[in-house]
């Protein structure tokens, strides 16, 4: 915390020095002629990044930070924000420690301590909801990949370019029919904002999609043993299992299903299911497992390129949330270019008018981003994915499919 403050004040000092020198040379330049001045107005544009790099979500939070830095480097290496005289992006990362109280104070601190143009974050919906409230009050735009539909209610500074929790549900239910035509589904979900929102969506839409839900059960995240829960799934007679969980629980659930010898098609949803660590921990048993994601590294060529860069840094493919936030950074860049200003209100207004269908900003299933009045991408929809030999392949719907469905 202290370190980032020091860094921020150092940056401010540098900026002051720079301005003083710039002003001095501007006077000199005035005498010499106007042509030297171009490009000198370049200042930095501050972007805040709120991620849980410690605490229970640390693993994913840290990977998000790597992606956020990669995105900013890509933008700066390509010449920064051109309409602001090539201003570079300056990413200010803040650790929200996987904790809602800390998220509130960190968001406040980030906004009051820095001149920010926009913020992105926070991975977990429960944290993003808090950060979004603070941003709304401070009138700083926040762009996020978090999926809870609550983020689209009564907010003017919150933008969600990717599929919403309720849409995930529909995709998941449709995917149940990929495996069998009479699906009997058991839904188990962690009792958090993310888990409840996703599973309620499933429950509401199931009848309309012709899917029968035979078990609907919340569990407390971070259990020591998945045995009792799977015992319950077994006695429900389900032939498909939807598990709405983060990584640690999901590893235990999948391994326990194999142990029990239960023959059931598993759809792990999103969250912890679509990150490389899942395959590393579960191994071959994960092949054929289905999931849904708001982003996948094979959605288009731009995403493949980002994926290659990220792989060079980390050795792993870029997962949903991290890839999505690279796209979000480019959406902010697009807004900044059109706003021609680093003022958060102007950036917000430009974001509201965003309409892209090519380049890095359009890396999303469907390849188009345009925000409606509720801050939702009107083209946003999830992509169905399947684990195949350690890679995550888009298999659903047909127009987004990049590989063949592996029959289990």
């Amino acid at each position: 915390m202290k370190r980032s403050k020091d860094l921020a004040s150092a940056a401010w000092q540098r900026r002051r020095d720079f301005l003083r020198k710039a002003a001095g040379s501007a006077v000199a330049a005035g005498a010499l002629g106007p042509y030297v001045l171009r490009g000198w107005a370049a200042d930095t544009v501050n972007i805040g990044g709120l991620y849980p790099s410690t605490g229970s979500m640390a693993q994913i939070g840290q990977a998000c930070v790597v992606a956020a830095k990669l995105a900013v480097e890509m933008v700066n290496n390509a010449g920064g924000i051109k309409s602001l005289g090539g201003a570079k992006l300056n990413l200010i990362i803040s650790d929200v420690q996987s904790d809602t109280t800390v998220t509130r104070t960190e968001t406040d601190r980030l906004i009051s301590g820095n001149k920010l143009s926009a913020i992105h974050g926070c991975y977990a919906s429960a944290l993003t909801l808090i950060a979004s409230e603070v941003c709304e009050r401070a009138k700083v735009p926040i762009i996020t990949g978090s999926s809870t539909d609550q983020l689209n209610k009564g907010r003017a500074y919150t933008f969600t370019p990717f599929a919403r929790a309720s849409q995930f549900a529909k995709a998941q239910l449709q995917m149940a029919k990929l495996v069998g035509d009479k699906p009997k589904v058991a839904v188990i979900f962690e009792n958090t904002a993310f888990g409840t929102a996703t599973s309620n969506g499933l429950k509401e839409l199931a009848p309309g999609e012709g899917v029968e839900i035979v078990m609907f059960e919340p569990y407390s995240a971070g259990f020591t043993d998945a045995g009792p829960l799977i015992n319950k799934v077994k006695s429900s007679g389900a032939n498909a299992l939807f598990s709405v969980s983060y990584l640690n629980d999901l590893i235990l659930i999948v391994r326990t299903v194999k142990q029990v010898g239960l023959n059931i098609a598993i759809n792990g949803g999103s969250g912890g299911f679509v990150i490389p660590d899942f395959y590393k921990n579960v191994g071959k048993a994960a092949d054929g497992l289905l999931g849904v994601a708001h982003w996948n590294h094979d959605v288009n060529d731009a995403a493949q390129k980002v994926n290659a860069d990220y792989k060079k840094r980390t050795g792993e493919f870029i997962f949903e949330y991290a890839g999505g936030l690279v796209a979000q950074t480019y959406m902010l860049v697009d807004a900044l270019e059109r706003a021609g200003s680093a003022d958060p209100q102007k950036v917000r207004d430009a974001l509201a008018k965003l309409d892209v269908s090519s380049g890095y900003a359009a890396m999303a299933p469907g390849g188009k981003v345009k925000f409606g009045p509720d801050g939702k991408n009107v083209y946003g929809h999830p992509v169905g994915v399947q684990w195949q030999n350690g890679d995550l392949v888009s298999v659903f719907p047909n127009e987004d499919a990049r590989g063949k469905l592996l029959k289990i």
Partner: protein, 289 residues
């Protein structure tokens, strides 16, 4: 129905064995040295990582690394007693609480720095196997863990009952001053108690590794259950902590099966509250041994 209950009891009993290893360590330290070790879960985590690295670097089976983990953590326990805990013993409770709490924070954060927050698993031949008996199943890795946990608990019990050092530990836990008058060296007894407690945590780490992923915060999952077990089984009572751990495992499992998967802990805490209302000093009454 009978089958479902039986399966729930089996699941609960097996995980209860792991709770027992952690809680026996906590209760032993509390009984003998009279301090609460908030860092006990972190030693489970250290045990898990030692097991993980032995498995990935040298291909050692987690059960074999038990024989590395336990001595290493025993020595660590003796060192911690000698260099840290010994210095705060004469003082009031606060420095003792802060010491072990600080230790816990320190270990977790060092682990985060050195090992990152990634999950690490070890796959053994028996990791995903289970014995099937009719409609019931018993996971092999958990059965082994349970068996070894019970064996270690029995050995500890025998040690406390039959050896001079064990008797000295029980004496020191009953009345430190009188024990000193009888010629028992408290520092030596305390060092051994810390060593044994940490060795048990290390054993829990090795036994968990075939079926539970390791990560820096993993200790906190188990230490909460351990603290409940220690209170439920009467503070300082080793047999009480063992029985309480097994009961809690079963209560949690039955709770998940019949109340709701997010209510396992509610049933456990209900068990604790009822016990404390009926027997305020825990299941074993006032006895600490």
């Amino acid at each position: 129905m009978v089958e479902i209950v039986a399966q729930a009891v089996i699941n609960g009993l097996l995980i209860g064995g792991i709770y027992a290893l952690v809680s026996i360590g906590v209760t032993l330290i509390f009984g003998v040295v009279k301090i609460v070790n908030f860092a006990q879960g972190e030693f489970v985590m250290i045990g898990m990582y030692i097991t993980f690295f032995l498995a990935t670097q040298f291909g050692l089976d987690p059960l074999v690394s038990l024989f590395v983990c336990m001595p290493v953590l025993f020595v660590l326990g003796v060192l911690i007693q000698h260099f840290l805990i010994r210095r705060v013993l004469g003082l009031n409770d606060l420095p003792q609480i802060f010491l072990t709490f600080a230790l816990s924070l320190l270990i977790v954060n060092i682990a985060l720095m050195l090992l990152t927050a990634n999950y690490r698993t070890v796959h053994t031949a028996y990791s995903d196997e289970a014995f099937h008996l009719g409609g019931l199943y018993v996971p092999v890795a958990k059965l082994i863990a349970f068996g070894v946990a019970m064996l270690l608990s029995a050995l500890l019990w025998a040690f406390l009952r039959t050896t001079d050092l064990g008797k000295a530990m029980r004496a020191a836990s009953q009345n430190r001053e009188v024990a000193q008058l009888m010629g028992i060296n408290p520092n030596r007894v305390f060092a051994v108690a810390l060593g044994i407690a940490l060795a048990l945590a290390g054993a829990a780490g090795s036994l968990l590794m075939p079926f539970y992923p390791a990560y820096p915060m993993v200790g906190q999952v188990f230490v909460l259950m351990a603290f409940v077990a220690v209170v439920l089984g009467t503070l300082g009572n080793v047999v009480g902590a063992l029985i309480a751990s097994l009961l809690m495992g079963i209560a949690e499992s039955l709770g998940i099966q019949f109340v709701g998967a997010d209510s396992g802990l509610i049933v456990v805490f209900l068990l604790l509250l009822v016990t404390l209302a009926v027997r305020p000093s825990g299941l074993a009454g006032g006895h600490t041994r």
